[in-house]
Each structure stands twice: as structure tokens, then as C-alpha cells.
């Protein structure tokens, strides 16, 4: 990428999404694609998808980012978290149609009413930093369960079977990892 292109479209994924929303900027799309498509493909393959299916879904995810760019709100979520939810929901829709039970696509839940929250919603940038710190500090056994759950998209029962652990242990490791996150978030406010 030439320096002057960078100056035009900005340097962060959130800037790229904003450029797509503002003017259907294909240079920004290419930058976003180069970063996220190979990572989404990797994530889906770790979750058990074949290479061609994973690549098709990664492309679909970036097309969805293009289409929905106008509703991305950088105050509410980081670009990575938002793109993760898009890839997650596509995985639910496309790769698991063979399952007996459809999975719930947990996207864009609007608030039913104005909630009481004196300290306001979490700031997405602070949250991103905090999550990075927390993941760096997690004990290996908790991190493993978090990765299997969030990165590979495996159900808790499947994780228990894969690691040869009781289901309760998988859940308690997730709970401990979340406790660590809440603790760090609490320190921020």
C-alpha cells in the first residue's frame, strides 16, 4: 500500500470499515480483506471446516462486512469483535445445517428499554486492551478452554470430551477465565 493511500483510508480496521460505509472504498476493503479473511479461514478450519468451505465462508464474512458497514459502531465494539460475530453467525448458518438443532445466531440484540447504567457502557477500545491483557495472563489450562470455545466454536460437552475432562471442569475453567476478565474490567472503572 502506498503511503498516500494510507493517509486517505486511515490505518485501523475501524477506519477501513468507516471508509467502506462512507464511500464504498475498495482500497479499504482490500486492506480489511488481507487482514481478516486469512484469519477467519484459519479459525473455521480449526473448528473443523474443510479448507474450501472455510475460505468460501471467510469471503462471505467480508462481503457481509461490506454490506453492513453502515451499522458498525466503533464505540460499541472493536472491529475485531464485530467481525468475529459476523463470522460466528455465518458458521452457525452455513456449517452446521446438518445438526439436529439449529444454533442461535446471537447478533444485534437491541435493548428493550433504556437501561439504568450510571457508569455508561464499556468503552470498546478499553475493553479490547483489557481482554488482551487478561488473555495474556490466563493460566494455560483456562486459555485452552477459552480457545476451544470461542476460536474453534466447540460446545462445552465437545470440549470436555476432547480434553477428557468432566463437563463441570470445563465450565469452571470458563468461569475462572471470565472472573479474571471481570476483575480487570472492574479495575478500569
Amino acid at each position: 500500500m502506498r503511503d498516500d493511500d494510507k493517509a486517505v483510508i486511515g490505518e485501523s480496521p475501524a477506519d477501513w470499515i468507516a471508509a467502506i460505509a462512507a464511500r464504498q472504498d475498495r482500497t479499504a476493503f482490500a486492506a480489511l480483506f488481507a487482514y481478516y479473511a486469512p484469519r477467519i479461514k484459519a479459525m473455521l478450519m480449526r473448528g473443523g471446516a474443510a479448507a474450501d468451505a472455510a475460505e468460501d465462508l471467510a469471503q462471505e464474512a467480508l462481503v457481509t462486512v461490506w454490506r453492513k458497514s453502515a451499522i458498525f459502531d466503533p464505540a460499541r465494539a472493536s472491529a475485531s469483535a464485530w467481525i468475529y460475530t459476523i463470522a460466528r453467525n455465518l458458521r452457525i448458518d452455513r456449517l452446521r445445517t446438518d445438526r439436529r438443532a439449529k444454533l442461535f445466531a446471537a447478533s444485534e440484540i437491541p435493548a428493550q428499554q433504556e437501561p439504568e447504567r450510571p457508569d455508561g457502557p464499556l468503552d470498546a477500545a478499553e475493553l479490547q486492551e483489557c481482554v488482551r491483557t487478561a488473555l495474556d495472563q490466563l493460566p494455560a489450562e483456562q486459555l485452552r478452554v477459552v480457545q476451544l470455545s470461542f476460536f474453534e466454536g466447540r460446545a462445552h460437552g465437545d470440549i470436555a470430551a476432547a480434553l477428557n475432562l468432566p463437563l463441570g471442569t470445563v465450565k469452571s475453567r470458563l468461569r475462572l477465565a471470565m472472573g479474571r476478565l471481570h476483575h480487570l474490567l472492574g479495575d478500569l472503572t
Partner: protein, 213 residues
């Protein structure tokens, strides 16, 4: 609305990682639409997913992947922001629920009405709304599976506490309970049952064939 009962951490994690079935996911989503605290928790967990995605070792793409994707963009309309259209009902339903077809209320016994929620899925799991008159004693029951409830209006209580608007009751195998609806207004809630629920008493006999568990 003061919400005191929330989904467990494991349930929020399953929800955020996209591994909950649609019916249980719907009940959790309904709670989230009423609970800022749990929306924040899910946003945190989705950031966990985003951070893991950033850290992934990139897989190589096939030649021409970007160009092929670019040609798909031409066929796309840019996003009109997704407006959620709320179904017109007598009760302002939480948004996640309003995306599903609802049956009409059916009287199923003294003080209790039942309404089907149209979610296709597993034979082993059901989701429905219940409306119970003040003072109603719901059937005592045990679980082999799970029973998750989100309250919209009114309240009930059982051994584990009082459950009012927005509260989430996550009962599993270990629970045998005997909910009683509070005096005042009817209690309206969304319930999902999974696995074998052993309903007892007169209402159990009425409800059991309806939910076919």
C-alpha cells in the same frame, strides 16, 4: 427493573461463542434485551473472540480470492441499517422473541395459559410462553435436562429466590422446584425445556402432552 438472577457464566459463554441451540439461545437473548449487565458481559466475550481472531496464524487463501470477493460486492446493496420490526401484540415483547411466530394463548388449566413459540428444531427441546394468574402454584417438577425461564411481567418465587421482570431462572438436573406466582399481576414468562422434565400434579398432566417431552 431490578434484575437479580442472571444466566450462568458458562451459559453466557456458550451464547457468545455461538454454541447454544436456537431455543435456549432465544431465552438468553430475551434476557439480554432486558439486562445491560449481561449485554456488557456478552460484549466482553465477543471481544475475547475478536482478540483470538486477531491472534490467529493466517491461513493462505487461494489465488485470486480478493478479486473473486470484489466481484461479489457489485451485487450487494449497501446496508440499510437493520431495523427490528416489533410484532404488534398486547404485551410489548422483547425484541428477540418478536421475530418468531406466536400461537394464540390457550387455557391449559386453572389460572394458566400457554402459548406456542414457533421455533423449528429438536424433538427434545421446547420453547413456549406461560401466563399464570396471581397465586397460582405451578406443578412441582424435577429435571433430567434443563429448564430456563425469562420473566417478562409479574413474578414467581421458589426455594432459590424471587424471579421478577427480566430475571433468568436457569434450572438443571440438581433442581426440584415448586414455583408459586406472586399476588398482584399475572406472571408472563418465556420457558424452554430440554430433556426429560418430570411434571407432577394436575397441571403436569395437562402440560405434559402439550410439550410432548
Amino acid at each position: 427493573m431490578t434484575i437479580t438472577h442472571h444466566p450462568s457464566d458458562a451459559t453466557l459463554a456458550a451464547f457468545a461463542s455461538g454454541t447454544l441451540d436456537e431455543m435456549r439461545g432465544l431465552v438468553v437473548a430475551t434476557h439480554l434485551s432486558l439486562c445491560a449487565r449481561c449485554r456488557d458481559a456478552v460484549a466482553t466475550l465477543e471481544q475475547v473472540g475478536g482478540t483470538l481472531l486477531e491472534g490467529a496464524e493466517p491461513a493462505s487463501l487461494s489465488a485470486g480470492a480478493l478479486e473473486r470477493t470484489m466481484t461479489r460486492l457489485d451485487a450487494q446493496d449497501m446496508a440499510p441499517a437493520a431495523e427490528v420490526v416489533l410484532a404488534k401484540t398486547e404485551l410489548a415483547l422483547p425484541a428477540p422473541l418478536s421475530r418468531y411466530p406466536l400461537g394464540s394463548w390457550r387455557w391449559i388449566g386453572r389460572g394458566v395459559r400457554w402459548r406456542e413459540v414457533g421455533v423449528e428444531g429438536d424433538d427434545d427441546i421446547r420453547v413456549f410462553m406461560l401466563k399464570a394468574a396471581p397465586g397460582t402454584r405451578l406443578p412441582r417438577h424435577k429435571h433430567n435436562g434443563t429448564e430456563w425461564t425469562c420473566v417478562f411481567e409479574g413474578a414467581f418465587h421458589h426455594a432459590l429466590g424471587r424471579f421478577g421482570p427480566g430475571d433468568f431462572d436457569e434450572a438443571d438436573e440438581s433442581v426440584e422446584h415448586d414455583p408459586v406466582v406472586e399476588d398482584g399481576v399475572p406472571c408472563i414468562c418465556l420457558v424452554t425445556l430440554q430433556g426429560g422434565i418430570k411434571l407432577q400434579g394436575w397441571m403436569g398432566r395437562i402440560l405434559q402432552p402439550l410439550i410432548r417431552l
